[in-house]
Amino acid sequence: MRKCVLRMALFASIVAWTPVLSGCWDIKDINHRSLPIVMGVKQVDRAYKVLLLIPEVSPSEAKAKIVSGSGNTINEILDEINKNMEYKVDLLHLKVIVFERSIAEKGLDQSVESFMRSKDIPNKTFTAISEGALEPLFEKLEASSGSGGTEVYDFFEKNAGWSPEVVQTRIWEVFRSMDSYTRDVVIPIIKPGRTTTIESPGGAVIKNGKMVGDINSEESLLYNLFKGSGTQGKIEVMDHATVKIVSDRLNTTSEMHAGQAVLNSRLHLKVTVVETVGTPTEAQIKKEIDKQLSMRFNGMLRSAQAKEADILGLGQLFRDEMSRADLQHWRSKYYPFMKINFKVHVVIQDEGLLKIDV
């Protein structure tokens, strides 16, 4: 009898503990949180300013609002915003972080490091650099937030509005490049568009967390090509024809000749003809593509080499030919003097629905 009572008591006490076992603690329901989608970071003198684009979705309409604050560190500002808001700011679903150009030129190390350290910001958040001031960009985003403020995110998202001339760079890639010996990174530049919500005029070259130059959209395509993001669907316009890239494959081999790095790179492109001007032959089209892409590539590489910024991560290919101590000096000693042979091999897969007259 006593044992039975004891058992009942034990059972009751076990049941009483079950709420603890759920692991939920101080939980705030979803309707008491606000989930910013875009964060903008700018620096005025030494103070930071943070803008948050927070969607406000109700059954009848979807819009967004901008909340901003300034202070000495990003976290101080977020804390301040959190204090003043009626909801808890939860950065778990932050999708894009936009830096103003001036802060990128001063150096992103501090802010990127704090984003990586933070437990709630996902490290696969997209990064972007705003060409002009942040405020007009955010106002534009707010004004055209028909789908609840997700426009910028959709702009970069591969299964939505992304196109091969737009660079996709995530926060962890920027962080990786900050300490890397052999790899720099390009962050897409955006600005409010004239007829569309946003426009991307190209990308910013970031070397060790600092913006040292920029590349245009055409060069961004080559960057994506080397990164393996795919260039399918990109239209190339030449003098006598316009073609659409169907598929791409890049072969590279690297050699070291007496301290000189040599890279042989061969790009295999499959294209389909979209438009012709006059009556070019197939060989002519192939030659034009080769010439155009090689010229563009060499131009981009030369300017990147001059800035000692290895945006294509070419140093990676020499890892087995150099010791770690040598790799440390890759950017300054080897990369600027690297020789590269870039060749394009084109296959015209089809000519569209019209024949090319031969």
Partner: protein
């Protein structure tokens, strides 16, 4: 009845639970080039010890370690096994505290650590109270439920891998094996040692065949390599050495547009935490067996509860991650005792017993 399959599953999941969190950071900070050599060295040591340990046990079959040691002499068994019991208790403390901390760092940032530790200890105590056979059956269940997710996440974790980061494969510093004395390398052996000692405690309750276990051990090598090389290939050496949990960071970079997998890290964490809870209950059961045989006055059930309470209190007293790292380091001596001395002693005693048995008809 041969229960090799259950033992194999248990053996795999206890190791998997330990590999992916604390192991990669130690290896990555121990050397800068040619991490595979450190992994391989530790792994070879592991296989050798498992072989020696199970060989010794098979000589003395169907006895377990405690029977074997007590066969030599009660006092000898007490002295030889007491450090092992202490080691087990410290392992329970470190594991509970470390994994509670990991859970708060990665996904339960608002939950007090004490609650998470209570959860771990409550569940593992409950499982270990039900006995060793129940632990092994639970192991089967957990493996069936979580192993597919784990494999999926491991495959996905290669999404951002850049194979060039594996190079260079070797340099002079690594080839000189100087990393062997690096504290981090010695700490990394934690992942190898904790998991296999249970093999000596389960006979005769859970019989298994020795050869199978040693063979299955080799299946663990890819997981050890993946846990170190996936972060290295994703971030490179310089960056991954800045993370306290490199593999988790690498999994966090995986991007899948399907909403369910928005954060695959969660699947990974939860599977591994289940494995770790099972590991805890197994170690707790081992400790209880040792204590029961050493101090026959103990009543098992109340002793387990006292042990769990004690562990909980000590866990509460650990203030920070740094203290925990220090504890892990202090435990190295006991770990070497448990990893080297116990298997060798087992082999020696087993061989002696066999010789005696051979003389007697």
């Amino acid at each position: 009845m041969d229960k090799s399959r259950q033992v194999i599953v248990m053996y795999l999941i206890t190791h998997l639970g330990l590999i992916f969190f604390l192991y990669p950071v130690d290896i990555i900070s121990a050397l800068s080039v040619g991490h595979w050599s450190a992994v391989l060295l530790g792994f070879m040591l592991h296989i050798a010890l498992v072989a020696v340990y199970t060989k010794g046990l098979s000589y003395g079959a169907p006895q377990n370690v405690v029977d074997l040691f007590q066969g030599v002499g009660k006092a000898f068994a007490f002295v030889a096994l007491l450090p092992l019991a202490v080691y087990f208790i410290v392992v329970i403390i470190i594991t509970t505290r470390a994994y509670a901390e990991i859970a708060t760092v990665i996904f339960l940032s608002d939950t007090p650590i004490s609650t998470i530790m209570l959860l771990f200890l409550a569940v593992s105590t409950a499982i270990s109270l039900t006995g060793i056979e129940a632990i092994f059956r639970t192991g089967m269940l957990i493996a069936i439920l979580f192993f597919p997710f784990l494999l999926l996440v491991i495959v996905l974790s290669f999404q951002n891998a850049d194979w060039h980061y594996m190079l260079p494969l070797m340099d002079r510093k690594t080839a000189s094996l100087s990393f062997v004395y690096h504290p981090s390398f010695l700490k990394s052996l934690f992942a190898f040692v904790g998991g296999f000692l249970f093999l000596g405690f389960i006979p005769p309750d859970v019989p298994y065949r020795r050869g199978k276990i040693v063979k299955v051990s080799f299946a663990l090598l890819p997981f050890f390599l993946i846990s170190v090389y996936v972060p290295l290939m994703t971030f490179g050496e310089n960056t991954s050495s800045r993370f306290p949990f490199p593999f988790i960071m690498a999994v966090d970079t995986v991007d899948i547009s399907w909403l369910m997998f928005d954060r695959v890290t969660m699947f990974f964490m939860i599977s591994l935490l289940c494995f770790v809870i099972l590991f805890l209950s197994l170690v707790m059961w081992n400790t209880m067996l040792l204590l029961k045989r050493g101090f026959p006055a103990f009543r098992t059930k109340s002793a387990v509860l006292v042990l769990a309470g004690l562990v909980f209190v000590v866990c509460l007293l650990v203030p920070s991650w740094n203290t925990l790292e220090k504890m892990l380091w202090w435990n190295t001596l006991l770990r070497f005792y448990a990893a080297l001395v116990i298997p060798l002693l087992t082999l020696a005693i087993g061989m002696r017993q066999r010789r005696k048995g051979a003389v007697r008809p």
